[in-house]
């Protein structure tokens, strides 16, 4: 039985407090009016040589170039104002989504392990259940965020703004799907479905611990299969709703599966990190380096899978170069060059080189250091999915973004380790437990 160490608890509180301060700073430093932005822009023109900034401006405002200069400046300031208003909201959204996605990915992995009757991973089930404990909290936080967005407290989802829609025929055509009530109903259905499976599966495995027959196990097997079907559909839809609709003019059929790849690799990495932490504290005596080897293999394999899907999506759009699609990558490539290309190094090149060797996959510090890199890489992946649509070229990775990430990380750590301390760390009633304990690769 794990006891939540007071040190870790204090650490998670500290993260939350620092995070809240960072986020609060983000909201307080947001310019309050377009006039402020004008002054800000003027200052930045003055301080950093005007030429460099101006070049960006002209690029960003291709369409407005035909208008007279005065109007262009006004429009630009207006635009920048909206972006800057969105910035702290986006930072919170990226962090909320990232940790929620880890939890959801873990849940999917967990269900797959049940359905495939894996014989190695049983000893890690309680760790996975701990990570998915964040799902209900994260889901509610996200839902609250969506409600706030639909109340026009922010402009992340431009299609929620009736004024924007009024002037945008493309969005009008999508209004059958992209409208606030339907969006919230869908979100509620996904979140409720996922949370239901999470709570139910937890109940069943705990019941199986002391059961004399396998009825709970069989039930869980069937429920997991049903969940995976539900997940296959809802995950795709969730990706369209929560991420793709931020760029309501853009569409890609691969998007849902691409997001899934990011999700599952982050999830497995988190499972590995939490397991190594608990093992280091002496709580997982039945987890050996073969289990870690398997997790590291999955980290390696899914990193490559992620790259495959990233490349497929990018290359096909780049190759055909159809204007309505390619803008998505043009803005990312122009304004986000370092994170956009940097994440490829972190998410692909680095794990490829480090986790290729079979011996390294058994060395904890190799897994931990690669794991942290992978998680940072996928945070950036989400960042590059969300930010260009909401803050455009006004992005900056600073106190607000770090604060939001730390805040949610603090909540995540608190919830996860608190949940882990609630049940024995070995799911002993599972019919494959013995196989898993003896597992050796």
């Amino acid at each position: 039985m794990y006891t939540f160490s007071s040190k870790l608890k204090t650490f998670s509180y500290a993260l939350m407090i620092v995070g809240i301060l960072g986020v609060a700073y983000g909201f307080f430093t947001t310019p309050s009016s377009v006039e402020d932005v004008k002054i800000m822009l003027q200052e930045s023109h003055d301080t950093h040589g005007a030429t460099a900034t101006h070049q960006n401006d002209t690029q960003a405002n291709d369409i407005e170039a035909t208008h007279d200069t005065a109007h262009s400046d006004d429009a630009h300031a207006e635009h920048a104002f909206h972006y800057l208003m969105n910035k702290p909201w986006s930072a919170v959204y990226v962090a909320l989504f990232f940790f929620f996605m880890i939890s959801l990915g873990t849940l999917a992995f967990y269900a797959i392990q049940h359905v495939s009757q894996a014989g190695w991973s049983i000893v890690l089930f309680r760790v996975m259940e701990g990570i998915t404990a964040y799902l209900p909290i994260g889901g509610i936080l996200l839902f609250v965020f969506f409600v706030l967005s639909s109340l026009h407290l922010n402009h992340l989802f431009v299609w929620m703004d009736p004024e924007v829609v009024a002037h945008d025929e493309l969005i009008q055509n999508k209004a059958g799907y992209l409208n606030v009530p339907f969006f919230l109903i869908r979100a509620a259905i996904y979140i409720a479905g996922w949370i239901w499976y999470r709570q139910h599966s937890r109940k069943l495995t705990l019941a199986q611990d002391n059961a004399t027959d396998l009825s709970n196990y069989t039930k869980l097997f069937k429920r997991s299969a049903a969940f995976l079907v539900f997940f296959l559909v809802t995950e795709s839809m969730m990706s369209w709703d929560w991420i793709m609709s931020l760029d309501p003019h853009w569409f890609s059929t691969l998007f849902g599966w691409y997001l899934f790849a990011s999700m599952i690799v982050s999830a497995i990495t988190t499972i590995a990190l939490v397991s190594i932490y608990l093992k280091g504290k002496g709580y997982l005596e039945f987890v050996n380096d073969s289990h870690m080897h398997d997790l590291a293999k999955f980290m390696f394999g899914f990193s490559i899978f992620w790259t495959y899907l990233w490349f497929s999506q990018f290359m096909l759009i780049w190759y055909a170069d159809i204007p309505e699609e390619v803008t998505y990558f043009v803005t990312r490539f122009n304004d986000y060059k370092i994170p956009f290309l940097g994440m490829l190094v972190l998410n692909f090149v680095f794990p490829l080189l480090v986790l290729m060797n079979s011996d390294y996959k058994r060395v904890n510090w190799f897994i931990v250091s690669t794991g942290i890199i992978i998680l940072i890489g996928h945070y950036i992946d989400i960042f590059v999915m969300i930010m260009p649509a909401t803050v455009g070229d006004q992005w900056f990775f600073g106190i607000t973004e770090i604060g939001a990430a730390l805040l949610v990380l603090g909540i995540f750590i608190y919830v996860v380790f608190n949940a882990i301390s609630k049940a024995p760390l070995l799911a002993k009633g599972n019919p494959f437990t013995k196989e898993s304990e003896q597992y050796h690769y």
Binding site: Q117, T253, W257, I304, L316, A320, I322, F432, K434, Y439
Partner: protein, 570 residues
């Protein structure tokens, strides 16, 4: 750890009380025996189809592509449909041997050999189409970047069709190597059992001098793992590249980013269906039901169900995004599929691919061999139509209404397709008679953990490691003193040898029988292979009680089986 431990809940993968030797015998039987009438009939039909297809190909090349049903708008139809279909079928083999190896699925061992053979033979069929659909086949070597006399005229590496060349050729060669390395221990087994010099020679050549030393096995395992690790990205990338042929274009209905993973899922889907079709027949005609069990069929059905659902999800995604995109051309492309002149093909594809695998959710249906066979055929038809629908319906109506047209195949299109099916079965039927169709070395490695008898032994409280001979059949044979009675008994079931009408065989050809033993057998009255081949458990026991010093040998060496071969081949 005790290496043979397996959770009791897992079902046995080898049915019946098999020993290592039983596996050898049953795997070698089709190779060592003679082909029956059924095989010859099937082979003749396949050969005729193949020759017919060959004729159609020669006619096409001699006369021109115009003999096909293609037109100026629809430049790709049956040729590329068949190409993608065959490549897709080929994917299951690599998936079974590589991906299932990486996921440590023991059940792959009963089916991987045949699945890989299927891969190789279907990639060969696929490889025909990129060549024969060219207008000028004789310039086909220009796709290769070879230095030449045209001032090093080079290929353009931007075309997915060129990537296809590399993808398919790499895929075929890697699959071939992967398959062949796995065959080495099995060929060695056939070599060691071969009685006739010609067979011995052939299998010695094929098995590359495999002797099965510890060091060899260790490297063998490592190579398999590395090749599996390489073949997995290969299998994904090959079909991805095939999908790029369409997805990189700007044709509505073709240009979509989901194609790479969706084509791969479709390939696994159709490939597994084809493996199911073939193995359901093979387990019956080659008597391999103990190794390709109902559970294998069920698991393949589950893979079909999963990939079918993924494909279904992709269909819905495509439909949704077509609407969501607001691009009229895209929307029309899907409207045309559903309600245009090829609505029947679309309907067929949807019902075969999306609906039919959903039946597999019912245990009763997925464990029914008849039903699985039926569905596997349905899926193959559906997947052919999927490729047809994607290719033809997107081409025949696109941007300019003035170039809208229809497509209908000619007998040459159909003839070539039928020809490739014939060719495939020619190869597969030859394979089934000359190759060990089950990876016996691998199957033997799971016998003690997943063999039915061993599992029963452990379930009854037996301890690991299980004894070599698990189920002791205690037969109380009465000590019969009178050897003459025993001789009569033995000859009664083996048949009396008549010196005047029959010719005595050289019994020394049976491995285990020397000159001395031959003489002893002759004194009992056994002269011919025919007699020996009739020996069963009862006769072995009788013989044992007659022989003083060779007890148990006849059964151990499987004299009956050997004699049967010698008799057939003599």
């Amino acid at each position: 750890m005790s290496s043979h431990y397996e959770a009791p809940i897992r079902r046995p993968l080898i049915v019946g009380d098999k020993s290592y030797h039983d596996i050898t015998l049953e795997v070698a039987a089709p190779v060592e025996g003679k082909a029956n009438k059924l095989w010859w009939t099937a082979f003749t039909i396949a050969l005729i189809a193949f020759l017919w297809g060959l004729g159609a190909i020669i006619y096409t090349i001699g006369t021109g592509i115009g003999v096909w049903g293609l037109n100026k708008t629809v430049g790709w139809a049956w040729d590329i449909t068949n190409f993608v279909w065959w490549v897709g079928i080929g994917h299951a083999g690599t998936l079974i041997s590589a991906v299932l190896l990486l996921f440590r699925q023991k059940w792959r061992m009963g089916i991987n050999r045949s699945a890989e053979a299927m891969t190789i033979f279907s990639v060969v069929q696929a490889g025909l189409f990129p060549v024969i659909h060219m207008g000028r086949v004789w310039n086909a070597h220009f796709v290769l970047p070879i230095p030449n006399q045209f001032g090093t005229l080079w290929t353009n590496f931007n075309s997915p069709l060129l990537w296809d060349v590399f993808a398919i050729s790499t895929y075929l060669s890697v699959s071939l190597v992967f398959w062949w390395t796995g065959l080495l221990p099995d060929f060695a087994m056939l070599r060691d059992r071969a009685v006739r010099p010609f067979q011995k020679k052939i299998y010695s050549l094929l098995s590359f001098g495999w002797t099965g030393r510890a060091k060899d096995w260790q490297r063998f395992e490592e190579v398999s793992l590395v090749l599996a690790g390489l073949a997995t990205p290969l299998v994904l990338s090959v079909h991805t590249i095939v999908s790029f042929d369409f997805a990189t274009s700007v044709i509505p209905g073709w240009h979509t980013t989901i194609f790479p993973p969706y084509f791969v899922a479709g390939a696994v889907f159709s490939g597994f269906a084809m493996v199911n079709t073939l193995l359901i027949i093979m387990r019956k005609v080659s008597n391999l039901e103990a190794y390709i069990t109902k559970q294998h069929i069920e698991l393949m059905n589950i893979v079909i169900m999963i990939t079918g659902s993924i494909v279904g999800c992709a269909y819905i995604t495509e439909l949704f995004i077509a609407w969501y995109s607001g691009v009229e051309y895209e929307q029309y492309a899907f409207l045309n599929r559903a309600t245009g002149p090829y609505w029947w093909a679309y309907l067929l594809m949807m019902s075969c691919n999306v609906l039919s695998p959903q039946f597999m959710w019912f245990k009763k249906l997925r464990t029914s061999i008849m039903f699985s066979f039926f569905i596997s055929i349905v899926v193959n038809i559906g997947m052919w139509f999927e490729r047809f629908v994607i290719i033809v319906t997107s081409l025949h109506r696109d941007y300019l209404p003035s170039s809208w047209t229809m497509f209908s195949p000619t007998f040459v299109d159909i003839g070539i397709y039928v020809g490739t099916i014939g060719f495939f079965f020619v190869l597969f039927l030859l394979y089934a008679r000359t190759f060990p169709v089950i990876a016996q070395a691998e199957v033997k490695s799971i016998l003690k953990s997943s063999g039915e008898a061993y599992k029963r032994y452990r379930d009854a409280g037996g301890k690991n490691p299980a004894p070599t001979k698990v189920v002791k059949v205690s037969t109380t044979t009465e000590e019969v003193k009178d050897t003459a009675v025993q001789k009569n008994d033995l000859l009664g079931s083996l048949g009396v040898f008549d010196n005047s009408t029959q010719k005595a065989d050289d019994l020394k050809l049976i491995s285990g029988v020397g000159p001395k033993l031959e003489k002893t057998l002759n004194t009992i009255g056994i002269y011919s292979f025919d007699q020996v081949s009739k020996m069963t458990e009862k006769e072995y026991d009788l013989l044992d009680s007659l022989l003083e010093s060779f007890k148990g040998r006849a059964k151990r060496d499987d004299w009956a089986g050997q004699a049967k071969n010698l008799k057939n081949n003599g």
